[in-house]
């Protein structure tokens, strides 16, 4: 809740518990009145009748935390929500952008305070130690220097190890109050003190993770990019022109990195972090690896229109989310290669604006049913060659997605139509060829009742040409009803 909207009165969030409503969170004023999370609402009201309450929304909180974690992408691409009330940022290699670790921590805290959030940041070599420092260390000692993890956390209480309440109760009964006391003990006798092996094992794992003896992988919300460029602005950007200029800057910084490593980008993600704690994310993909700044900028050009800058964008980051090797000689091409390159770029632009699925190439399929004899494949990969001249009777060049029903007068049992009515116009047949029988593909579908089709090529008296079929046979009328006729395609 933003600072200005926070009530100065004691306030609590409540959630249903086993014995009625329980307080799930309280503000500072309520804390001062002696209220604590976990109290029953009835008890709290008894102690402080004027308590303002609202229902807790854990799911909304979780979503909010995820949004906040994404927004923290402005500090590092590697961010994730941690538990119900924490964020974990891996800032390896990022601190120098902010002028050192201390300055970066200050920046994170100031930014979050600007959003009206009280935050405490801890910084250490391991996630476990950082977690402990953020929650249990005094404000002056929340940053552990590299290699000084043990020294930084040994005076903290054992609860800082992310252990369960039972484990910490047991440790306190044993007189082990600080992490330092625990870390020095021989491990095997200590583990034997726990009622279950799993409990002891869990404690050892947490201890080892905090001290860096055991690895603890973080899973970021979005996979970290291979290449990243970031720009921060002292004055938030509000206009599309300045966003475009910033994008050009980012690309100009990214392309040399790609060149150095002989890479081209297949997928780019542009993050725009707004001052109000929200962000916009735009992705663009290419059909073939590219590191042409102009081309990449054009892929974003259409989408920049949709950006809402809100109160301004103060950080932009460009992630090369997917890269592929791209040799230099792929860039200098002539004739056929240049045309292919041009087509790939065109496809990128078309897909960027029209969306996936709007652009396709046609590929032959080994199927008998005409509607299945070809498939639309996404451009970018080579298509199977089409057979030179098929031996089949001539096919129409336009095919209806759904065959259209027609009224037909035809010779029984398998003569071509003589007169048919399609789209409310009656057409007299001048010439016809057929039938060409296409049986249902029983080995693919499980619909055994699908009737077979007899196709006819038909020309009417005006010279217009149709591809008609009869679904079913007149002989089967008694069993399956009369056959139906359809127009499936048109010839020129």
């Amino acid at each position: 809740m933003p600072a200005h909207a926070r009530p100065a009165e004691p306030f609590a969030l409540v959630a249903p518990g086993v014995h009625g409503l329980l307080l799930s969170a309280v503000n500072r004023e309520a804390q001062d009145e002696g209220l604590k999370p976990g109290m029953r609402l009835a008890d709290a009201r008894a102690a402080f009748p004027a308590l303002a309450v609202r229902e807790a929304e854990p799911e909304a909180d979780r979503q909010g935390l995820i949004r906040l974690a994404l927004w923290c992408g402005r500090f590092t691409p590697w961010s994730a929500p941690d538990g119900e009330d924490g964020l974990m940022l891996d800032i390896t290699g990022c601190a120098h952008l902010f002028g050192g670790e201390a300055a970066m921590v200050a920046e994170v805290e100031t930014r979050l305070a600007g959003l009206g959030l009280e935050a405490r940041a801890g910084l250490a070599d391991t996630p476990g130690a950082a977690w402990a420092l953020a929650r249990f260390a005094p404000a002056r000692a929340r940053i552990a220097a590299p290699g000084e993890t043990r020294a930084a956390i040994e005076d903290l209480p054992v609860e800082a190890l992310r252990i369960t309440a039972e484990t910490s109760l047991l440790l306190r009964r044993l007189g082990l109050v600080t992490i330092g006391a625990l870390a020095d003990l021989p491990r095997v006798p200590l583990a034997r003190r726990f009622p279950s092996k799993a409990q002891g094992e869990a404690l050892m794992q947490r201890l080892d993770q905090a001290l860096g003896r055991r690895d603890e992988p973080l899973s970021p919300l979005s996979p970290p990019p291979d290449y990243l460029r970031r720009l921060a602005f002292t004055e938030p950007l509000l206009l599309k022109d300045s966003v475009e200029a910033a994008l050009a800057d980012l690309l100009a910084g990214l392309v040399p990195l790609l060149e150095r490593d002989h890479r081209g980008v297949r997928r780019l993600v542009l993050w725009c972090f707004r001052v109000d704690g929200s962000h916009v994310r735009i992705a663009a993909a290419t059909a073939r690896a590219s590191r042409d700044a102009d081309h990449l900028a054009r892929l974003f050009a259409e989408k920049l229109d949709g950006i809402d800058a809100g109160f301004g964008i103060d950080v932009m980051a460009l992630h090369a989310a997917r890269v592929e090797p791209l040799a230099d000689d792929q860039l200098a091409l002539t004739g056929r290669g240049r045309a292919r390159d041009g087509v790939d770029r065109l496809v990128d632009r078309l897909l960027a604006r029209l969306g996936a699925g709007a652009v396709a190439r046609l590929e032959p399929a080994e199927r008998h049913l005409p509607e299945a004899a070809e498939q639309a494949v996404p451009p970018g990969r080579p298509v199977d060659p089409w057979p030179e001249r098929p031996d089949l009777p001539q096919r129409p060049f336009r095919l209806f997605e759904r065959p259209e029903a027609v009224e037909v007068m035809a010779e029984v049992p398998d003569g071509p139509p003589l007169v048919f009515t399609w789209r409310r116009v009656t057409r007299r047949v001048a010439r016809a060829a057929g039938p060409e029988r296409i049986a249902p593909e029983w080995w693919i579908g499980d619909d055994e009742d699908e009737p077979l089709r007899d196709y006819y090529r038909v020309e009417d008296t005006a010279g217009r040409r149709y591809w008609l079929y009869r679904a079913g046979l007149y002989q089967d009328t008694a069993a399956k009803g009369p056959p139906r006729w359809y127009v499936h395609g048109l010839y020129g």
């Binding site: 087509v343 639309a376 010439r431």
Partner: protein
């Protein structure tokens, strides 16, 4: 614009005439749009029909390969005939500079009207479906946008836009894009060539009863179309009836009698002013 001083012409009247025609054609082209790449363009072989009566009516002996050409059915039901005519024209286009791909943009309404593309049928029309890059979008505006992008990129053999209709501005935009990318654009419209257009040529197509199959008199053979060149920049309007040979992909003049196969073109030279003229 100051006209270039006429150069002394040779004594041969036929040669003079040809020379003047060429100059006038050049002037007319320049009046439309000044283009420094003109010399380069003229090196490209003309995109003709292989039929003197048709090619003679067009400047440069064929369709301009950097301009927009429109076709529509004479009636609503002739849409497929117009589409097939454009497909046949497309199949005659020579590939140059390694440009292979043909962009075909279709609006959803157009696909519902006369069906979507069917690869095997395009194979039969003489165009390898593997060359087709198919764009299916909802609105005409997107068809025009995609066609324009395709024309400008200069890497396509041709662009075919299948849509309801387009206003003058849209066709003008396409023309400029076609010139910029040196790529021909074909526009298949459903509005019977209603409003004015900036297209270099406009065709109205009607289906005619086709020939019988040579091996089965009851079966349909080659299609025949009545072509009307409604308007042509630097050319003259004309009409003619053609037969399109499915086997060879060649245009021929439709024989006068309905059940006779097309006359072989090479055997019978046709005078240039055949076919009724009509002001467009």
């Amino acid at each position: 614009m100051p006209l270039p001083r006429p150069e002394p012409v040779s004594g041969e009247p036929a040669a003079d005439l040809a020379d003047l025609r060429r100059r006038i054609a050049a002037l007319e082209r320049r009046a439309v749009a000044f283009d420094p790449g003109q010399a380069e363009r003229q090196a490209v072989a003309p995109w003709g029909f292989g039929l003197p009566v048709l090619d003679g009516a067009l400047p440069e002996g064929g369709l301009a390969s950097d301009a927009v050409h429109e076709a529509a059915g004479a009636e609503h039901g002739d849409g497929p005939a117009a589409a097939a005519f454009l497909a046949a024209v497309l199949a005659r286009l020579e590939r140059r500079d390694g440009r292979e791909a043909v962009l075909i943009c279709q609006s959803r309404a157009a696909a519902g009207r006369f069906g979507r593309l069917h690869g095997p049928g395009w194979r039969a029309l003489g165009l390898d479906p593997a060359r087709i890059l198919h764009v299916a979008v909802r609105r005409d505006a997107d068809v025009l946008w995609a066609a324009e992008e395709g024309l400008r990129c200069g890497a396509l053999a041709a662009v075919l836009a299948d849509l309801d209709g387009a206003d003058f501005t849209a066709s003008r935009r396409l023309s400029l894009a076609a010139e910029e990318g040196q790529t021909p654009a074909l526009m298949l419209r459903d509005d019977r060539l209603g409003p004015a257009s900036a297209a270099a040529s406009r065709w109205r197509i009607a289906a005619l009863p086709g020939t019988p199959d040579p091996f089965d008199a009851r079966a349909p053979g080659n299609p025949r179309w009545a072509l009307e060149l409604v308007r042509c920049r630097g050319g003259r309007p004309m009409t003619c009836k053609v037969e399109w040979n499915r086997e060879t992909g060649a245009f021929g003049l439709a024989a006068a009698l309905a059940d006779r196969p097309a006359a072989p073109v090479a055997a019978r030279p046709w005078p240039h002013d055949a076919g009724a003229r009509k002001a467009g």
